[in-house]
């Protein structure tokens, strides 16, 4: 996925600031202000253009936008709060603000809450996890099949008579695309 606007914005900002500083030092403040105004106007036009392009579907969404779709659930937020409270409780015990009995009672309560919420979060993710595992199994199976196919192909080539034109052609032998990749199967597994 491509991400065109941020570098453009950065380049424009730096160019505008540098231009303003240079003109400010050489010509005067008023021209520097015009440079800033010009840069701001160009930036606004470019950003509006990018906005309209996104709106009409002529540009792809950024990786961050796609990744951010997986926002944390309410249980995850509660889990974080309970874990933070547990950390605070440890701290307060350390500085002697809480008795050992109270600490034991509250700690047990927080831990039970945390356990319950972690289970709830796991359950909430069960569907996605099953889907990920299914996809993983498919990819691994595909990778295994591809590796087997390549091995068989390589075996067949090695058993073929030496008078084959491909084997006598040095260009063909050195072509990385046509050469068998013995690391491809583990790599595919890793990427899966």
């Amino acid at each position: 996925m491509k991400r065109p606007p941020p570098p453009l914005a950065l380049v424009l900002s730096v160019a505008t600031l540098a231009g303003a500083a240079a003109t400010g030092a050489v010509v005067g403040v008023e021209i520097a202000l015009l440079v800033v105004a010009g840069g701001a106007m160009l930036g606004a036009i470019a950003l509006l253009w990018a906005s309209v392009q996104s709106l009409t579907g002529e540009s792809s969404i950024t990786l961050e936008e796609a990744l951010s779709l997986g926002a944390p659930s309410a249980e995850e937020e509660q889990k974080r709060a309970v874990l933070r409270a547990l950390k605070d409780l440890e701290f307060e015990r350390g500085v002697g603000k809480i008795s050992e009995e109270d600490y034991a009672e509250l700690s047990a309560r927080y831990r039970a809450d945390a356990r319950r919420l972690i289970l709830a979060v796991d359950e909430g993710h069960a569907k996605e996890r099953a889907e990920v595992e299914r996809q993983l199994a498919i990819r691994l199976q595909q990778a295994d099949e591809e590796a087997k196919a390549r091995e068989e192909e390589a075996k067949a080539k090695s058993e073929a008579p030496p008078s084959s034109p491909a084997a006598s052609d040095p260009d063909a032998a050195s072509d990385p695309d046509s050469a068998p990749d013995s690391d491809s199967a583990p790599a595919a597994k890793e990427s899966a």
Partner: protein
């Protein structure tokens, strides 16, 4: 249509309105969960901010080139003004200050939208929509009621009217932007709050998201108010720093609710309680920022700060009505989700203390609000009742005392409940300090010049009057004792934290020195200990406020050669001079042709030794001869400030009338503000470890902090050196208020901003 700058500028304002409206609509549509629309809204928000920068640069260009075709430029500048004050004029008048407000909002919007990338996917559309709605409001306001690009009806004038001399002051260069930074900063938490209410995601997600934004706004509200106090102290020449003026009051109202929120948010984070209260506080804080702006601009209440009367008020009334109605409707709609799942288990708990503290802060805010509006409200049912500073001082003293005492109490309690043994352990040292300090002051205070009791007049007849009089008289001793209690609480918290860390290290067979333990303690618990440092700053400020009880205020007339004893100081009047023209004037004074300056030169001695020369003055600007300005001269010190003001000078006999004030401990207010800034900055520090950030990252962050600290120190030191010197006798002139200082200030702020920009860019790169 756009053949001239006024028309073109107005066109840009229309463009801001249209872009904000477009982005608002796209953001709302993105709320259905379409990432493509969200991306479009994000670009739209950036474009709106870019257009605002464009408009500000155009107006600044108009000021620099003296384009008097624009009415705003001709009213607030003239050809003789130096460049620094031409920039200040951007926010010196009503129309420009609204554009400046929008500009700051564009800065916040850019920062917020950039920060939101990849975060809070569900809240983002509504955050952007709310920010765009605020943009839209200000664009409408500028286009239809206060257009900074409006053309001068009679055509371009040869010269402008010039900026009000009172605003041609060092502090006015930085006070309004700082306060606006605080005011506008409340827009971001409000936008998150609206987003959380709209989406129903009301657990800790949005609370965590707004934590640092709110703290940032709170920090700038504090700085803005403090700078306002510094300006009033130095420029208005009445000897004090806070006059309970309606506009001052309006500026401090959101500070109270923001302070309440900063504490109550912790309860929701820890205990999942007070959800309704927190959304209410955020909405109220934002509402109060708009209300404060309304008070300043609508001409509702007379004030020295208020802008000229205009019909802008009705727009604000509509805006406030919409904010209040929308917030209330959303809260009522989401009430089932906002109901807490826990409750306060014991009074001896930190959450109970925070709740009481919240009520005290809200009580203080409500009192100031009602008292500020009372003169106007009283007109509804009869004669107008005036509410002056003595009324506020008498009533706010006990309210402030309660807040101050609760500030020290809360850290002594643990969450949920605190055992009696733990409480006993926690209270021994602070209570000993409280009692010890009270007794010490009772015994030695009078001989040192800081007595525990300072007799006050009875303000009211009857029981309430007597109670207030007694409390007021005993206040100095009580405040100092409570300050000792609070400082001991903070020191004890640090000591206990360090001890706990060292015990923990011992168990692991490691050795941790006190300094290492302190550094790690601060590193691991920045928010908590940053908050404690803020408490220390507030203690210093309370000591400074209490100093008013031990001050001396005198008025006298003197002829050259006469001396006057003011406390431990002796002031000798040496004579007067008018600049330019007098050979004793400095070259800068001789060269200043914008005004006549009448100085009264005083020699200040302590124990027979000359410590400074002070030259209070009257400035008569050629453009506004009917309103001469008072220029204070003072010698600042940790123990007291010698503050001198000249009233009149007889040109024949050189006889002059003076006001002398010996303001005890005022410097502690400014010191407290810097401690507060330090503590709040520590709390705001990103929670990334050295390993995550790397040495270079820490170096960059350290450079950022060093720049901020240097800027703060420079800001403190500059006005002091401008007015008086304590180490060696030096002619310290009111006219020394250097016109070059604002250029330096702007340069320092620009350097800080540039450094911040570089840091954030490199930070983001690293984060990726």
């Amino acid at each position: 249509m756009w053949q001239s700058l006024p028309e073109f500028g107005t066109g840009v304002l229309y463009a801001i309105l249209v872009t904000a409206a477009y982005t608002f609509a796209v953001a709302l549509a993105a709320g259905r969960g379409q990432p493509r629309l969200l991306q479009s809204a994000r670009y739209g928000a950036y474009a709106t901010a870019g257009l605002t920068l464009f408009a500000v640069a155009l107006l600044a260009y108009a000021f620099i080139t003296h384009d008097f075709r624009i009415r705003y430029v001709s009213r607030y500048s003239d050809r003789s003004m130096p460049t620094s004050y031409l920039f200040t004029a951007l926010w010196g008048g009503q129309d420009g200050s609204l554009l400046w407000w929008t500009f700051l909002l564009s800065g916040y919007t850019t920062a917020c939208v950039t920060w939101l990338r990849g975060r809070y996917r569900h809240l983002q559309p509504y955050v952007i929509a709310t920010l765009m709605a605020i943009f839209g409001f200000f664009a409408v306001l500028m286009l239809f009621a206060a257009n900074p690009f409006e053309a001068t009806v009679a055509g371009a004038r040869p010269d402008g009217e010039g900026l009000n001399p009172l605003l041609q002051n060092y502090w006015m260069v930085i006070h309004p932007p700082s306060l606006y930074m605080g005011f506008v900063g409340c827009s971001v938490p409000f936008s998150f709050c609206v987003a959380a209410l709209a989406t129903g995601r009301l657990d800790n997600e949005w609370i965590v998201a707004v934590r640092k934004w709110m703290l940032f706004a709170f920090l700038f509200l504090s700085i803005g108010n403090a700078l306002g106090m510094a300006w009033a102290y130095e420029e208005l020449g009445w000897g004090g720093y806070w006059a309970w003026d309606p506009v001052e009051n309006a500026a401090c109202l959101p500070w109270f609710t923001a302070a309440a929120y900063v504490h109550s948010t912790m309860i929701q984070e820890r205990r999942n309680m007070l959800k309704v209260w927190n959304v209410f506080l955020i909405c109220l804080t934002f509402f109060l920022t708009i209300f404060g702006t309304f008070l300043t601009r609508a001409g509702l209440i007379s004030s020295v700060h208020a802008f000229a009367q205009s019909d802008i008020g009705k727009y604000f009334v509509w805006a406030m009505a919409i904010i209040a109605a929308t917030s209330l409707a959303l809260i009522v709609w989401r009430l089932p989700l906002l109901r807490g799942k826990s409750e306060i288990e014991a009074v001896a708990s930190r959450e109970a203390m925070f709740v009481i503290n919240n009520w005290a802060l809200l009580g203080g805010m409500t009192f100031i609000l009602v008292a500020t509006l009372f003169p106007k409200l009283s007109e509804l049912w009869g004669d107008k009742v005036t509410v002056g500073p003595p009324f506020f001082n008498r009533w706010m003293a006990p309210i402030g005392l309660i807040i101050f005492a609760l500030m020290g109490l809360a850290p002594l309690f643990g969450w949920r409940k605190t055992s009696p043994e733990a409480l006993k352990r926690a209270f021994i040292a602070p209570v000993s300090a409280l009692v010890g300090m009270y007794v010490l002051q009772l015994v030695f205070g009078r001989s040192l010049g800081y007595p525990s009791f300072v007799e006050r007049d009875t303000f009211y007849p009857g029981v309430i009057g007597v109670v207030l009089q007694k409390v007021g008289s005993a206040l100095p001793g009580i405040v100092v004792a409570i300050a000792a209690f609070n400082v001991t609480v903070v020191v004890q918290e640090f000591a206990r934290g360090i001890a706990a860390r060292r015990r923990s290290a011992e168990k692991r067979n490691e050795e941790e020195s006190v300094l290492v333990a302190l550094a790690r303690l601060l590193d691991k618990n920045r928010r908590r200990y940053g908050g404690y440092i803020v408490h220390l700053g507030i203690c210093a400020m309370f000591i400074g406020f209490t100093g008013g009880a031990w001050g001396i205020d005198r008025e006298t007339a003197m002829t050259p050669g006469q001396s006057y004893q003011l406390g431990r100081y002796q002031l000798t009047y040496e004579g007067s001079r008018m600049c330019p023209g007098n050979p004793r004037c400095s070259p800068a004074e001789q060269a200043d042709l914008n005004k006549r300056m009448i100085f009264a030169d005083l020699r200040l001695s302590l124990g027979g030794r000359e410590v400074a020369r002070l030259s209070p003055a009257k400035f008569i600007y050629h453009r506004q001869p009917e309103s001469p300005t008072t220029e204070v001269a003072m010698l600042r010190g940790l123990r007291d400030d010698v503050y001198t003001v000249v009233g009149t000078v007889d040109p024949q006999s050189k006889r002059a009338t003076f006001q002398f004030h010996l303001n005890a401990l005022v410097s502690w207010i400014w010191i407290g503000v810097f401690i507060l800034i330090g503590g709040a900055s520590l709390s705001l520090w990103p929670e990334m470890s050295f390993r995550e950030l790397g040495a270079w990252g820490y170096l960059r962050a350290g450079a950022g902090v060093a720049t901020s600290v240097m800027l703060a120190v420079w800001l403190t030191a500059s006005p002091t050196s401008a007015f008086a010197a304590s180490s060696r006798p030096k002619l310290a002139l009111a006219a020394d208020t250097p016109r070059e200082q604002p250029i330096g200030a702007l340069g320092a702020i620009a350097a800080g901003l540039a450094l911040g920009g570089v840091l954030s860019v490199s930070w983001r790169r690293r984060a990726r």
